[in-house]
């Protein structure tokens, strides 16, 4: 009894301490008066948590478990008969394609942007989700694609349909160039180097005036045209992007269970073990880098052809973080998850239009909370379940 009381006292003292600390922390930013509200909020939160702990010991752990255990849907989807698993994405694709006929130009435009993000996220998913290499400058590959079409399209009238694979291939070459020297690095070093690569790309684009027109960007990029038909309306781009997304999703899905995909997973789970089993890790990492960069480049070409204007500012660090968040939110390594994550985050600014200035702070908080309560994402990969299940009962 005495011990329990002492513990409670301690907890209350701790709550009071945190409240005071947060008050102090808020004062310089908000002023003494408004900081009171922060302190009040912290105090209320502490009170709720303490009360919860008193009522049901371990309520917080339980909450954590409930939130974390919500992946049942993905597990159930994975256990459906195979024809359902094949038919469901096709039906979804058909539904989205049909809805394109009825939606207004504004919604279609937003949906097209979301589609470009899905392409980027699917690309990044190959390297982050499947191969387990954290890349923080991914948008640089997209910049390579966009500037390929931007420069060749305006100066040499290169057709969009040629630029599409060319931009992707060029981005893949950049992936190779970046990967060759850096892929021997350990995970977090690699993250920083790719971040540095992204910054170098952006700064170079900003300063290489003769080629990229620097911060002014490239104007008058020709829209795609096919047999004399020129893409001009949001609907045209919508279907273009939808087709590419379907292709990328199909390829990712096929990659997942392929020899290559399985080797990536082995490498992700334990690099040393994979290597000692004869998995050529360096070559596989390079391949993951190049495939991811390819999709990044393709997304860049589409972006340039849709905006008709590109500037280095479209390819800043925050965009890389955004795409990474899409992958993490959806569930790393899970193709449906990544698509869900990308669509959600791409539509989020439209939903939060009224409170637009709070969008990014919510975003930062969401990243922190997500990692604490649901690190596997909204729709985690069933692959991962199998791996952990295998571990539990050998």
């Amino acid at each position: 009894m005495k011990i329990a009381k002492g513990l409670a006292d301690n907890l209350w003292a701790r709550a009071a301490g945190w409240t005071a600390a947060f008050y102090l922390m808020a004062v310089p930013l908000l002023g003494a008066g408004r900081a009171l509200w922060v302190a009040l909020g912290v105090a209320a939160l502490q009170a709720v948590l303490l009360a919860l702990d008193h009522l049901t010991p371990g309520a917080r752990q339980q909450f954590r478990r409930v939130v974390a255990g919500g992946g049942a849907f993905a597990g159930r989807f994975g256990r459906l008969p195979s024809w359902v698993r094949t038919a469901a994405p096709l039906a979804l694709l058909a539904a989205v394609a049909l809805s394109g006929l009825g939606l207004g130009p504004y919604t279609l435009d937003v949906a097209t942007n979301a589609g470009i993000y899905v392409l980027l996220a699917l690309g990044l998913n190959v390297v982050v989700g499947m191969a387990g290499l954290l890349v923080l400058g991914f948008i640089a590959f997209s910049a390579v694609g966009a500037y390929t079409y931007g420069i060749l399209g305006t100066q040499m009238h290169l057709s969009f349909w040629l630029a599409l694979p060319l931009g992707g291939l060029l981005a893949a070459c950049f992936g190779l160039l970046l990967g060759l020297p850096t892929l021997r690095l350990r995970g977090d070093y690699l993250a920083i180097v790719t971040l540095g690569f992204g910054e170098i790309t952006r700064i170079t684009l900003n300063n290489w005036n003769s080629l990229t027109h620097g911060p002014n960007g490239i104007l008058g990029i020709p829209p795609p045209s096919l047999f004399g038909f020129t893409f001009s309306q949001p609907r045209h781009y919508f279907y273009l992007v939808l087709a590419l997304v379907a292709l990328a999703a199909f390829c990712s899905r096929r990659l997942e269970r392929s020899r290559l995909g399985r080797a990536w997973v082995a490498m992700r789970e334990d690099e040393t073990a994979a290597e000692s089993m004869g998995v050529p890790t360096l070559r596989l990492k390079l391949l993951a880098f190049m495939i991811a960069a390819f999709w990044g480049g393709v997304a860049g070409v589409v972006f340039a052809s849709k905006q008709l204007f590109i500037s280095p500012e479209s390819f800043n660090f925050l965009e890389s973080v955004m795409v990474l968040c899409m992958v993490v939110l959806g569930g790393m390594g899970s193709v449906p998850g990544v698509i869900v994550g990308a669509v959600l985050l791409a539509f989020l600014p439209e939903v939060l239009r009224g409170v637009a200035e709070y969008r990014l702070i919510v975003f930062g908080l969401a990243m922190i909370l997500l990692m604490q309560y649901r690190p596997q994402g909204l729709w985690p990969s069933t692959h991962r379940f199998e791996e952990t299940a295998g571990e539990a009962s050998p």
Partner: protein, 302 residues
């Protein structure tokens, strides 16, 4: 001015900036040394420190505190408050993830960095915050080189803090506990080192040092804005890697080296590519000598 004196002038300027990088780099390197986390939000911590110093100095001057007392008090206030931020970040964001692999804490750090940036943007606005004291460019001329008093102040404060930190880590029992935890946290906890407290202390120390760096920079350049932390953080991280991450003297050396190289690059190549130089150095170090200048190569554990 002859080109020789321009060279020495760039070295002096580079040393000043390098001392600041070194102070920030210490935070990266200490945290990495102990929990192997790249604390991405550390650049933002530095930016917060600069804001707090500016705000504190403004409040103190308004209250009629004499100028010579204002600066030390502002430094202390910034260090204390920013230390609190570092402590809270560790307790709330990083501690729950201590056993969660590498990716989760790294993404949390990215989230924290965005959160701090936006917090300052929302509460303080996007405009540059100007330091309330105009620092004169007065100084002494040593032969061909001019050293401003403020540059001397920065070098002196940075040197004092580095010596102090080195003494703390090498001579006190808490410092020994830090070195223990860095070597092997599990073993340290078995022999009675309060590992959690040591980690908290590391975050507080690193954050306070970054805050001091922030205040010194805001005094030197006169202004700060909510994005300042990003580049400074990256540079400081480069400095930490350059010196050998996890190695405290290495961070100091790396910071000064990077500052000088950058100063020379700004003088001879052109200011717009100054930032590229830092990243190129980072990539080169990681490729050629990933353990850094003073680091020791650690083999992968199987």
């Amino acid at each position: 001015m002859t080109s020789g004196s321009a060279f020495f002038q760039q070295i002096v300027n580079g040393l000043t900036v390098g001392a600041v990088y070194a102070l920030i780099a210490l935070g990266y390197t200490m945290v990495y040394g102990i929990i192997e986390l790249i604390n991405f939000a550390h650049g933002e911590i530095y930016m917060l420190g600069a804001y707090f110093g500016t705000i504190a100095a403004g409040a103190l001057l308004l209250a009629g505190v004499p100028v010579y007392v204002t600066l030390p008090l502002a430094l202390l206030a910034a260090a204390g408050l920013t230390g609190l931020y570092g402590l809270s970040a560790e307790r709330m964001a990083y501690r729950p993830l201590r056993k969660a692999g590498r990716l989760a804490p790294l993404i949390t750090a990215l989230g924290l960095s965005i959160f701090f940036q936006q917090l300052v943007l929302l509460t303080q606005g996007a405009k540059d915050k100007v330091f309330p004291l105009a620092i004169t460019s007065a100084g002494v001329t040593l032969g061909p080189v001019r050293v401003a008093y403020i540059q001397m102040l920065i070098l002196a404060v940075a040197a004092a803090l580095m010596v102090g930190l080195q003494l703390f880590v090498q001579k006190t029992s808490m410092g020994r506990a830090m070195r223990c935890t860095a070597q092997d946290p599990l073993m340290a906890s078995l022999v009675g080192v309060p590992v959690n407290r040591v980690i908290s202390l590391t975050f507080v120390l690193g954050s306070s040092l970054a805050a001091v760096a922030g205040v010194l920079v805001v005094v030197y350049y006169g202004k700060v804005n909510y994005l300042s932390g990003y580049t400074a953080g990256l540079k400081a991280f480069t400095a930490a890697v350059l010196g050998g991450i996890g190695n405290i003297p290495g961070a100091m050396l790396g910071g000064i080296f990077l500052g000088v190289v950058e100063g020379l690059a700004a003088g001879y190549i052109g200011g717009e590519y100054k930032d590229v130089v830092a990243f190129v150095i980072l990539v080169l170090v990681l490729i050629i000598r990933p353990q850094g200048l003073l680091g020791v190569r650690v083999p992968d554990k199987v």
